[in-house]
Symmetry: C2
Subunit: 279 residues, 2 copies
């Protein structure tokens, strides 16, 4: 690693390559190039570990190369190309890199590939527009042991840098499917024998009651394979979208709050399923 620390390969902040990487913060550049940015040590570490074939290039400052040497060791072990760059070059590529960023090929996962694995827990984000919220749901789905996340309708681009950062690496831990057709996705989940539950404050089922009854054969039964639908952060699920589900479930609100934020509600629902699946 010593020679890397001495002379970074890339030192020209005006190089075309630098501008091309920086442009990946915009959706049009991402979709043109078919690649996206992963910023910061945690994201790059998980990308190199779990999605090495997608990694085109890693850029690292000499200081970050020393500090995160285990990430670079993983990169070397997985034949990932690493280029050292001056702090100025990395900063010009991204304001959120903390010395380490990667460019990855955008890989698409089809819902059928997920269904072929007999998933037991799936999170469906319907028209989720806030990048941080979408990323936080992906992270929570991973933590709760979900098998996949599906983004439907006009949800945020999953490769938005804020979304990628908010996943904290979970983007590389479980398949994330993008499919605009909400009704089609729900129908296919149901055909694959998942119970589809819509999370909504107006739900006729209380989540705690469902958890009490899990495994007792009542419907909906949280112990069964389940897909949760979560709606837009401002307006929730439309009545039409909620009506696609087998049941509408509310997270109990015990204080004076009118609602939980989307990511918090999603986390509570996914953990309830994960708890019901445990036994």
């Amino acid at each position: 690693m010593t020679e890397r620390s001495d002379t970074p390969e890339l030192t020209n902040t005006r190089a075309e390559r630098v501008a091309a990487v920086r442009a990946l913060s915009g959706r049009s550049a991402r979709s043109r190039a078919g690649v996206f940015l992963v910023e910061g040590p945690q994201g790059v570490r998980e990308a190199v570990r779990f999605a090495a074939p997608q990694v085109r290039e890693v850029f690292v400052t000499p200081a970050a190369a020393e500090r995160y040497d285990e990430v670079l060791a993983d990169a070397a072990a997985n034949a990932v190309r690493v280029r050292t760059a001056s702090p100025e070059v990395v900063a010009a590529m991204s304001a959120d890199a903390q010395g380490l960023l990667a460019v990855l090929r955008a890989a698409e996962t089809a819902l059928d590939d997920v269904l072929a694995t007999s998933p037991r827990l799936v999170a469906v984000c319907v028209n989720v527009r806030d990048p941080g919220n979408a990323g936080t749901v992906i992270r929570a789905a991973d933590a709760a042991g979900a098998d996949a996340v599906v983004l439907t309708g006009h949800s945020v681009d999953v490769h938005n840098p804020k979304t990628v950062r908010a996943t904290a690496g979970s983007l590389f831990h479980l398949p994330v499917v993008v499919d605009e057709d909400t009704a089609g996705v729900v129908a296919r989940l149901q055909r694959a024998r998942l119970t589809v539950l819509a999370a909504d404050g107006s739900g006729s089922h209380d989540l705690d009651d469902l958890l009490d009854d899990a495994g007792q054969g009542q419907r909906p039964d949280l112990a069964q394979p389940t897909a949760w639908m979560f709606g837009n952060e401002a307006w929730g699920l439309t009545p039409e979208d909620a009506a696609l589900a087998d049941a509408v479930v509310r997270v109990p609100l015990r204080g004076k709050a009118e609602s939980l934020n989307l990511a918090a509600a999603a986390t509570v629902c996914l953990y309830a399923s994960s708890r019901a699946h445990r036994s």
Copy 2:
């Protein structure tokens, strides 16, 4: 309301009053004046309903006055002073007002006042620095039916506009105590017979196991009055702070995620307590 729609009282964006309100986005102006900003219809509505004696003034555009007439009716019923202002004036006061904002007197709640009410569920944020996270925890605590939130150590200013917005009005639903002395707060909670649980990924107790055993007299027993300690978003609780608690509890991580974000973990813990208290 018609006369209000015609001629706003305030139209001069350069007025001293406008600059004084705008300055409340900064901590020093807030602490000098002993007041803070509440931006947007949801926050103002809850402030007027639940904290009317603290509301110094509400500013509203003619359009927002029509759209949120029920908020202004509540204001009138609670003798809250409302001033109409041009859209330009409101926009100059705050970029996040959506036509409606309020200036409130900062009111302090002492921990002893909370303890006097025999609380059953309290959230303690230790060195929580991100304004959005702190606000989201306050909102989740409200939703889970918690009796209070305490911010200790060097936590973010609860009157930071981002924090206030993230609480979505919950700031006015339950007492929020600010007390730097983490050890002192924990000791006083324990003397008030609350079990203090530190939420930490390294915890020796699994949250789901505690929920299984709740009410069976084992320790810690989630069915008992409980205070949860949540640490900083980046580094969690220090070992010293975690050691103050009666037990350290981990939220189970079932996928490959290393952690949940702070607000998500707090929500899961608070809802587990709320579930245990239900029976």
